[in-house]
């Protein structure tokens, strides 16, 4: 599903590369934690998958697309297949829960009857049925993150990328969000999650890819956050 082959990314303003000869392969339906300290290259890794950035060297393959070679006009097609969730939710505060999720479908030109059918389904999946007409400000942090997940998932992406999705949430809410992400992963969606949250990584026992100074220093099939913990 995802393959990085000897990928390096350098920025003119940085002395050392953000990613340095990284090779990682993720199969369809896998759940992968991407861990490492700030500045280790996690965000760059995710940005490459979305073609927010292009690699300086190496190849990035997502669902048979050679991402770096993808012509500009085809980039939206890639992004329709890769959903993303962020630490800061990024909801539209002037739209209701329903409208926030529907927005993702409206802007890719989905017909209205599809939107009316699919949005309630996905709201139910993320546990927000009955809250479709609420505004984001009326929701708790955990509920807001559920809306963001619903929006990322509503178009049934092949890959769901989560960049510190529990970073702003308390441990209990974080646990709920992880259960939700696990449920989404069980539908066959490949899940990549960048995180600093030790307890989550340790409790889930999923594949862990650890980055440090732009290099992969660990890739465990059922890992924990810190070696030897």
């Amino acid at each position: 599903m995802i393959r990085l082959e000897h990928v390096s990314k350098t920025y003119k303003t940085l002395a050392r590369p953000a990613l340095d000869d990284v090779s990682v392969s993720v199969d369809k339906g896998e759940f992968v934690f991407l861990i490492g300290p700030s500045g280790s290259g996690k965000s760059t890794f995710l940005q490459l998958l979305l073609r927010e950035e292009v690699p300086t060297r190496g190849r990035v393959i997502v669902a048979d697309w050679n991402v770096a070679k993808l012509p500009r006009r085809r980039v939206p097609k890639l992004r329709q297949r890769v959903g993303c969730v962020f630490q800061d939710f990024r909801l539209l505060n002037n739209k209701t829960v329903f409208e926030n999720v529907a927005f993702a479908l409206e802007v890719i030109g989905k017909p209205r009857h599809t939107i009316r059918k699919v949005v309630p389904e996905v709201l139910q999946l993320v546990g927000l049925d009955g809250k479709a007409d609420r505004m984001p400000a009326e929701l708790s942090g955990g509920e807001q993150q559920r809306v963001a997940i619903a929006r990322a998932f509503v178009n049934r992406p092949l890959v769901l990328m989560c960049d510190e999705p529990t970073g702003n949430l308390d441990p209990d809410t974080s646990q709920d969000i992880m259960l939700l992400l696990e449920r989404i992963n069980r539908t066959g969606t490949t899940l990549i999650m960048a995180t600093h949250d030790h307890s989550i990584v340790d409790s889930m026992r999923r594949r862990v890819v650890e980055l440090s100074e732009g290099r992969v220093i660990r890739d465990d099939a059922r890992g924990v956050y810190g070696v030897g913990r």
Binding site: P76, R79, F103, V107
Partner: protein
């Protein structure tokens, strides 16, 4: 593409930026009003040149004696002069107007100047020969050739007057276009600025649109339409301003000229002629400015 989504985005964008939108519309309107005025002047000059070409190029005024004694132009001085003028090279036609006929024309011209009509008397006016020249002939040559002929009081070279009038009108046009260009530059900067502001205000939306895979076209279209809608509203305001200027100022200003046959008053037909040009210019220029701004300055 969902039309309702795009139109909602456009209306929201214009509403959210209402002060900038108004500034953009007004600047565009003023610039287009000036452009429209310039175009009307061009049209008037063209019309004037056409009507002037039909009028006499040179008028030979006869002296008092001939004017008084030979109203039918049958005596030697008058008929000889006429025959000579007709034979002169480059003369297309010669038309004799007696003192009475000159008076009648004058009265006709002074239609709306009753005070002039009052004081005009046939005896005060000279009889005249209206000479039409072919385009290649210099009217001054006729002046030189016949200036001292017997029976001639003076020769009026109308084309000099026409040339200076057309020259002045062209200066007015050039000046109007220059100010219109400066104003248009300000309008372009405002459009560009407003779009950048609009895109900045909606960066969360456009950021999400990018991430969920909306095409560049879908993301940009609301901004582009916002610029075009403002531009078109500006052009409609400009058409309104042209009408107001015509009604409030020009009609009164041009009334004294209306009898001369040189300049016809600015009519609604003139405004109707330039209006679609203004709307088209507004739509194309604002759309293009919007497109370039989005390409160059805004990451969408």
């Amino acid at each position: 593409m969902r039309a309702s989504f795009v139109s909602t985005e456009v209306v929201n964008g214009l509403r959210r930026n209402v002060s900038m939108t108004i500034a953009m519309i007004l600047t565009t309107a003023i610039s287009l009003t000036l452009l429209g005025s310039g175009l009307v002047v061009v049209r008037k000059v063209d019309q004037a040149q056409d009507s002037l070409r039909q009028a006499a190029d040179v008028v030979v005024y006869l002296n008092d004696q001939v004017s008084a004694e030979d109203s039918a132009c049958q005596q030697q001085t008058c008929s000889g002069l006429r025959a000579e003028l007709e034979r002169a090279s480059g003369v297309r036609s010669v038309k004799y107007l007696s003192r009475q006929q000159v008076y009648e024309r004058a009265i006709e011209k002074f239609d709306n100047r009753p005070e002039l009509r009052e004081i005009a008397r046939p005896e005060a006016l000279p009889a005249a020969m209206w000479v039409e020249l072919s385009d290649t002939v210099d009217p001054a040559a006729i002046q030189r050739q016949f200036g001292d002929s017997p029976g001639v009081a003076n020769i009026d070279n109308q084309s000099d007057f026409v040339r200076s009038l057309v020259g002045k009108l062209n200066d007015v046009r050039d000046g109007t276009f220059l100010i219109a260009a400066l104003q248009a530059f300000a309008a372009l900067l405002l459009i560009s600025n407003t779009i950048q502001l609009s895109a900045f205000n909606r960066r969360t939306e456009t950021g999400i649109m990018r991430l969920v895979g909306a095409s560049r076209w879908y993301t940009q279209l609301p901004f582009l339409l916002e610029a075009m809608v403002s531009g078109i509203i500006g052009s409609l305001v400009a058409v309104g301003l042209l009408v107001v200027i015509k009604e409030a100022f020009l009609d009164g200003l041009m009334k004294p000229l209306s009898g001369t046959g040189l300049l016809t008053p600015v009519s609604y037909a003139d405004i109707a002629f330039v209006s679609p040009i203004l709307v088209l210019v507004a739509a194309v220029v604002s759309g293009l400015t919007g497109y370039l701004t989005l390409r160059l300055y805004v990451r969408i």
